[in-house]
């Protein structure tokens, strides 16, 4: 008869879980030992739990199935929390397994004892369970798997005490039923069709799984027939885009610019998305981005089938065969001269391979990325769903493991990269075909903007120093080499293009450190028209600050 860990391993594999991202300790040793009993599960070691959880997130986004994690007690869960948060906000399924002391050891309050459940509730509000008996462990695991891959997807946390794991009498349990998503009901479809037929200014706000091809095509037909605008949530979990697919306009991060995008709307129709709010609050500014007088409707909640709901709406509008407009194929030219953030984005657009997985955690440096890659061959875009930086490099691990035949390109800010820089070691260890581009501007650049936006008026040297990463300047090529990853540095566009061509042509992983000046200066010229449209709606101090930045 198997022990708890062995039965659990079989149960996970029977339910289709193929990968476990780990950072184990003593209390997980029986789980680790059981890995060799189950050839269907791949174990991927990480040096830091935030890498494990972010890899599980990236994996599930691309595999459309959860991976498992293996973390060590409350401290390990804490280390993994930020990327579990990003998964939660992206409605990404993860079976989050946290080892714990033996049940009888916990009351003794040993050094590593802490209240794991209280931490887990932050990221797993829908499912936290400490398994109490070996005989029930696999039933608990199946409940966790069912919760994780339900609709919407979620992080389900299963806490696994060491004695439940090592105990005799594990009983493998059959997999849970597949979730059966339901489309919007007929009354909702009828109401929204009437709204669109009435001809007011309206937009469909697509999020979650509504940013995949079937939904995008249905939405484009609806738009072709009704004139409704297509918007995407600001930070998509996974957006299918590129030449041949209908383009959607992402809501801007800057609330001031989002206000411009949403101005004048009379109807906003949510499809697996939430009503838009600003990322942060700013003194004297509204946090709710829905303009006054705009009615918000819900076509499909995240618990419903967005694609089927959109198809039904298209049918109700007699738009099933409407000719859709799609993104034409086009790429920017080859950049030249001194490297800037914009030229990095241009080079990416110039070279992005077909079916690439593009991970954007470039923060301010990625401002031009959507435009530069819009007409590239079809690709998937993964973004920072929960705002907890340090997601991109771990996501790249998971995406590359989910899709071993697709190139992965991760664009990461320098400050951001340092939260989970240990990812590079796992990239090397697993020989993953990932190219990481680090935008090295030696600054928490976004905070220089935010410092002004929040109206902090007198900004002294101590405050400035909190946003400055230039002393000492990080050398990412050395960091990569120290973890076994091939690396290059570039400060000209020519060198960068050369390094990117090399990386895309040779098996990964690779890291390219793009040495660029402070981001906003490099992108001034291109974002000028868009920003200028926004200026009248901005508070005078922000408008002045932006104008200063935008001055040629």
């Amino acid at each position: 008869m198997p022990n708890g860990a062995q039965a659990l391993m079989q149960t996970l594999a029977d339910a289709g879980i193929e990968v476990c991202f780990t950072n184990p300790g003593t209390s997980e040793m029986h789980f680790v030992a059981a890995l060799d009993d189950e050839p269907r599960i791949r174990a991927v070691l990480t040096l830091f739990e935030g890498v494990a959880t972010g890899a599980a997130d990236g994996y599930a986004r691309m595999a459309d199935a959860p991976a498992a994690t293996l973390l060590h007690l409350g401290a390990g869960l804490g280390n993994g929390l930020a990327n579990l948060h990003n998964a939660r906000k992206g409605k990404v399924p993860i079976v989050n397994i946290v080892g714990d002391h033996a049940t009888y050891h916990a009351p003794l309050d040993a050094q590593l004892q802490s209240d794991i459940e209280t931490v887990a509730r932050n990221v797993s509000p829908g499912f936290v369970r400490t398994s109490q008996r070996t005989a029930e462990l696999c039933r608990d695991a199946v409940d966790a798997i069912a919760a994780a891959r339900g609709l919407p997807g979620q992080v389900a946390t299963l806490i696994l005490p060491a004695d439940v794991s090592w105990g005799d009498g594990g009983v493998p349990h059959p997999p849970p039923a597949e979730p059966a998503p339901v489309a919007a009901d007929a009354a909702t479809i009828t109401t929204i069709a009437q709204v669109l037929n009435a001809g007011g200014k309206a937009a469909l706000l697509l999020g979650g799984r509504a940013l995949r091809e079937p939904s995008l095509l249905a939405a484009a037909r609806i738009a072709a027939k009704s004139g409704v605008k297509l918007l995407a949530e600001v930070f998509p979990t996974r957006l299918e885009r590129g030449a041949g697919l209908p383009p959607v306009e992402r809501i801007a991060y800057l609330a001031e610019l989002a206000g411009v995008q949403l101005a004048g709307l009379e109807h906003l129709i949510l499809v697996d998305a939430k009503s838009p709010v600003s990322f942060f609050a700013y003194p004297g500014k509204a946090s709710d981005l829905v303009p006054a007088g705009c009615t918000v409707h819900t076509l499909a909640t995240p618990a419903q089938d967005a694609a089927a709901s959109l198809a039904a709406l298209a049918q109700a509008l007699d738009a099933e065969h409407a000719p859709i407009s799609v993104q034409p194929a086009q790429r920017p030219g080859r950049p030249r001269g001194r490297l800037t953030a914009e030229k990095v984005c241009m080079a990416v657009g110039h070279l992005l391979p077909e079916h690439a997985i593009l991970i954007d955690e470039a923060i301010t440096s990625g401002l031009m990325l959507p435009r530069m890659t819009a007409g590239c061959p079809r690709h998937d875009l993964i973004t920072l769903t929960g705002g907890a930086i340090g997601q991109g490099l771990p996501n790249a691990i998971g995406a590359a493991i989910a899709c071993p035949k697709r190139p992965v390109l991760a664009l990461i800010g320098d400050g951001t990269a340092m939260y989970t820089i240990q990812s590079l070691w796992t990239l090397a260890r697993e020989h993953l075909d990932v190219t990481a581009v680090i935008f090295s501007n030696a600054s928490y650049s976004v905070l220089n903007v935010e410092l002004e936006r929040v109206g902090a008026e007198r900004i002294g040297p101590k405050a400035r120093s909190q946003l400055d990463l230039s002393g000492p300047r990080l050398d990412f090529a050395r960091l990569a080499q120290g973890m076994g990853v091939h690396a290059a540095r570039a400060d000209t566009a020519e060198d960068f293009v050369h390094a990117l061509e090399y990386a895309l042509a040779h098996p990964g992983p690779h890291l390219i450190e793009a040495l660029i000046p402070e981001s906003l200066s490099g992108t001034k010229r291109r974002i000028l028209p868009w920003l200028l449209r926004a200026l009248p709606s901005l508070p005078p101090a922000v408008a002045r600050a932006l104008k200063r930045k935008l001055a040629p």
Copy 2:
């Protein structure tokens, strides 16, 4: 009238808080801006929150006063949780400030919104408060400071919504009263004096602040008079030791060895310590280390004044002038030949400067460190109080800032170092006189031992690979150079001694990567006698495994 953040800054400074370890985001920008209004507070930027919290921990251990942290929402708190856990277990005071969304923004469930309080309860069970109004912020802060530096010390978490921070009408608040610790009552002293006078086999188990000089001297007088054995908790928060101080024997990490240390005791007397339990649970073995028939007494709880209680006990025993035995001055010789973990510890003992701060997170590689440094000049030893690895490098930052004139030597395992490797950047940025020694054996070596100890019988290649860091091998010298820290590698004892001499003679920071074979092999010879004593008490499989490792 100051805004909330400005008033808070003044209140912190008035209460004696001199340092804030930060990793801020947008919601903390007013706090950041207020730093320039308060010259008494030094702001130390970190690249990762676990570095900030571990630095605050190390600072408070050496300064005997709390620092503040500045973290960014629930995700930032998560990243900082592991080292806050270590501080909690070490009863170390920290004023843990976590920025949050504006109060009115929170209900909108923006991307970074999460339940911060639930996470904070894991490390701050005694004090978590979300400040609700600018006018009350400083009162809340003073309550947090009072809670943090009470007896025992604790992590007090103050959650600071952005609008409470930026709001007008901050009211600075005077500092809280100093805590007034109370010694054990007369009845307790009398009872314990009777126990010691009765002459049974007894030990004083010293922990927390009872490991500082005044307590150690009193305990040594008691021992001289009564014959009581002096033990220290397994992982001291801060242990004052070296030539001229009374030596105490730390309880071993391995429960099997601790059992040998405690065998035959009839009375165990706790002094600011908890009754000993094994670090982890193991199948078929007791977690409670107190031997059968031994009575546990409490002389002083962590909430009481240990030094005064020990002094009173010494008086009751008429031991105030008993001649104490102290550690004689002695150092190991200069090691030679191929480098091993033991030779690193020998070199440290050979060279440790007076008044050094020694941070031991070397895990298996540090097995010989206590013996090799016992007779060194007086120094402080800081250890891994909560078992959440990744403490040592951040602790070094805080210790060096608390004691700028004292050399800091941090001995860190390679797996361990990677959890908070970002610490190196802050060491360089702040020009701290720290020498970090990394024991590079390319293995989670302790887990190889643990895998056998927990009785995982069949250990296959997938399990072994989860403990193996050799593919690719980390290059810590490059990692250090990538973050601006001077680094050297050594694989001979001669090179290591040379590198350590250089580091101790030149302003830091420095990193020395000690390339060593798997740890236990290097220490076999020296620990053999001790382990052999323990063998009869071990389960046969563990004894066999140990014997295999110990075979010449």
